[in-house]
Every structure is written in C-alpha cells, then in structure tokens.
Symmetry: C2
Subunit: 315 residues, 2 copies
Amino acid sequence: MQALWLENQQLELREVPKPNRPDEALIRIRKAGICSTDLELVKGYYPFTGIIGHEFVGEVVDAPDKSWIGQRVVGEINAVCGTCEACMNGRPTHCENRTVLGISNRNGVFAEYTTLPLKNLYRVPDSVSDEAAMFTEPLAAALEIQEQIKFQKADRVLLIGAGRLGQLIAQTLALTSCDLHVVARNSHAQQLLAARGIKVIADSDVQSQKWDVVIEATGSTEGFTLARRAVRPRGTMILKSTYAGDMSVNISSIVVDEITVLGSRCGPFEPALRLLETREVDPSGLISDQYKLGDAFKAFEKAAQPGVLKVLLEI
Amino acid sequence: MQALWLENQQLELREVPKPNRPDEALIRIRKAGICSTDLELVKGYYPFTGIIGHEFVGEVVDAPDKSWIGQRVVGEINAVCGTCEACMNGRPTHCENRTVLGISNRNGVFAEYTTLPLKNLYRVPDSVSDEAAMFTEPLAAALEIQEQIKFQKADRVLLIGAGRLGQLIAQTLALTSCDLHVVARNSHAQQLLAARGIKVIADSDVQSQKWDVVIEATGSTEGFTLARRAVRPRGTMILKSTYAGDMSVNISSIVVDEITVLGSRCGPFEPALRLLETREVDPSGLISDQYKLGDAFKAFEKAAQPGVLKVLLEI
C-alpha cells in the first residue's frame, strides 16, 4: 500500500506492506488530518521513523471481534499496556510502555490502512460526517483543558492562537461561562470566531498581568512570551502546543508571581464525539483544503502556510 | 544609624538617618537572618537599591498605636495597598503597589531600625526565643507550599535541597502524612534530617518520572534539571527558589508529560509562629553562625559558602 513515510526528517511516499496484526483492528483510512505535531515531527521535534499521521476516520475491515467489521471509527492515538503504574492509576495516556499512532513506535494513518487495538476505537454516530469525525482527536485534546481545570463564571480567560487547535479550544471554552477572549491575527480566523459570538482581542490590547487563565496554542516563543505577560499573579498558563527545541524562560518571575504552568496533551474521545453529534462544536469551516494521499507533499506545504487551518488527506 | 546598603550590586556599611515614618511602627532590630534571596540580590537578580534584609525579630519602639510599644515582633515583608485588584481578591502578597522589605522599594532590616505598617506585625509568644522567631518568615514561605497543594497520604514527595529553606520545608512536610524523601548532599544537612526521622536520598538513587510532587529548593539549574527528571507525568514541580538569569527549558516535554509547574513564594505567618510555639518545627541547629552588623561582609561571605545554613546578624 502507499504510505507517507518519515525518516531523518524527510517525508517520502513509499510502498509498504499492508499491516498485519491479527490482535488489532485493521482500519481502512477514509480521511486523515494534518496536525501541527506532524509539522513539528518533520522539523525534528521527536525522532520518529515510520508512517506519520494520527487524526483519522476510517472503517474497520478486519478485527479480532468480527462485530466491528464495517464500523466507521475514530481512534485514541495512545496504545497502552494496561499494567504499568500510570495505567493502573488512571493515567493511560501516560502509559510507560505506550506507542503513539504516527508519533512514537507505531505507524500512523497517512496510508491506506492502519491498525489499532479495539479498545482504542470509538464508533462514529451516523449523523457525524467523515469530515467532522476527523476532528475528534484534536477536539478531545481541546477538551483536555477542562479535564485539568474547572472554569468559573468570572474567570477572564485568554486564548492565544486561533489556528487548527485554537479554533476547537475556543469553541469548547465558549460552552463554559468563562469570559473568553481570543488573540487571532488572521482575518479568516477572526471571522470564524466572530461568527460564533466569540470575542477577539488584538495582541496590543492584551492587558499585562490581568488574565486568570491564559492558554497558549501557537507553539511559538512569541505566543509563550505574550502568555507569560498576560497571566495575573497566581494565575494559570496552559500550554497546548509542542515546541521544537528548548526555550529560555525567566523562572524567577514564575516563582515571584506564583504562576501555575500546566502542560496539556491528549483528551477524552467520548465527550468530543458527543459535542460533534449535538453540533455544539462545529468544525465545518475549519477545513482549508483537501488533497489525495499522492499529493501529500502539496498538502504539507499548504498546512505549513500561515493562516491555513485543517488540511485533509483523502486516502 | 549603621546600615548595610546595596547599590549597583555592591554592599556597603554606611551611616543613614534613622527612619522617620510616623504612620508605621518603628522597630529596633534584635536579630536578622541572611536568606538566599539576599545573596541573589547582590548577584543582581533584582535591581534593588537600599538597606537589604527581610528576616528579623525586633522590638517596637514607637507606633501610631502606642499599645504596641515594647512588643517583640516579626513582620510580613509585603507592605500592601489594600485597594488594588490583588488585595481585594485575597492575594495581598501580590499587591500591585506593594513594597517589599529589603527587596523592593522599602528599606530592610540589616540596620539598627526599620519600619513596617502595624498590620504587618505579629507578636512573638514569650516561649519563642529570638533565634527561633527570626525563622518565622522563611518558615511561612515553607508553609506556602501547603497553602497551594494538599498532600495525600500516598504521595511520593521529593524535596531537592536541604539548605536554609529546604530544612524548614522538610520539617513542615514531615508533619503531613506524605512519603517524603530529601536530596541533601551536605553531611551536616543529612544528619539534621536523619535526627528528625526524615528520609534522605542520594541524587543517583532518585528514580526518573516516579515522584508525584517534587519541590526544588536549591535555586540551581542542576536542581531544576533533577526535579524535571524526577517528577512523574501529570505530577507537580514546585519551585521555591529564585534563580538569577533565564534558564533553558524543554517546554515540549512539560506539555507531553502534562506537568504542573508551580511557583511558590511568601506564606502565612500565623501558622509559622504556632509551629514554633508548639516546637513542632524546631529551627535550633539550623544556625551556622552569628555576626555583629559591623561584620556583615564576613557574614555574607559565610552565608555564601556551600553547606552553610542560617547566618544571623546581631544588631
């Protein structure tokens, strides 16, 4: 089968054998999405070799439990052991022995087929389109924030970044009663937010040390610096993006201002699918372009352009 | 009066006028302590000019309310406005208009006299010696950790650093039911901990990614690196020390491991004084040396030596 292979920070379309893992579900990929983590992987943020891609919707074509065959599914990207300390203590996404779809020791979804354990799969409700279902994984990641902290009605919340992930974070936070403002530079991103009644604020209007919670979703040093400036003493900075390389940070100011800095990664699939089913979150409008797998290089080029939201691969 | 003056990172013993602020209590300093923050101020961590020093026990010699005269007191170091947003929201130590004793816009205590607002003062119980009372401020800072997070019985807690502040943190954490281990290099520091039944662990024995809570109290890059290595995914790193300069940090790993990084500074005086009165915390044994104010340079040299705990100035 054709697959998009990453090795030594080089992408290559190559023919690879169809996966053969009888202990896992064999999934034919229908749509897959390019995420900023994919772009970072190509930049070398983590030394992965194999088929990349982890956002997908597909159809089960074989499985240890045959009742799954024909089901349209999305999949939790962390394949876990179930027996390590993290798994036994309710932190399966931090499994010490995990493999991660298209990110770590497990081939991903920019290919005709992938495999995942059955326990990773979630059936997609019929009313949710392939395009919408493809957003389940990043939407779950957006919801992880609300697993970590509870928002209060009076909370002044600043979201920095309104890209692929930022838009989903904005939509999920808008469902809480916090006072949300989003820093969005791109006019299309601003329009998408405004259309949902979400307040947009310019960088230059962000007050220093005033925001109870600041969420950084740009993955840039500039975004981190703005977040640090905006958060109030004893406030919380939530970091939603991975950054290639180390960053120079003034740790003393974090001590003096008693800031909480909180890393945030993968989140829960079930509420993500529910929000797509009820249309409380609507990712239509977040798709910038769609390419065939054979045009994956063009798709990656497009996804790397500023202001571009989700780029899909049709497999 | 004689005072230890800091200007352009240079310490100088100089004659300065006795302070004259009729709206505040005039306090004759009895004992003062040298803190790592004082050493950092001399290194330039914050551009303070004036009399340094903030840990003290003294006697009120004049005050707007005369009933305070003759009282032996310790003092909260943040002098606050009471009307800004931070003050009005229960975060007075983060007052936007604060001055900080011997640290920011307010002359400190390495002098014959200082002044503080009456609301900053706490009477010292008769049973608490001058030497013990002098530890109230750093002990309050140690207790701030327990204001920020609640320790559970099963929590594996690693404290890195058993110096001036580390010893007090160790004693306060030992009063909780957490499973505490302390990284202490100096043999005297190890003995002090062992004498109180507190477990000591060598750097090389610290397991990676195993500790629920890690407290960094060395203020060194090395300590920060060990803390980052030791904390488990979804664990908490508490930073108790200020660091001169910026530090290079791998932010992505904090995101991927969903670490909470929490800065921690000044804490509550009342429980600190109670713990000294009940002797549940005993700072005797933490005093390395005592000097006259005229020998302040020698005192600072001594305090900067590795393994040295608290150095007092007798005023």
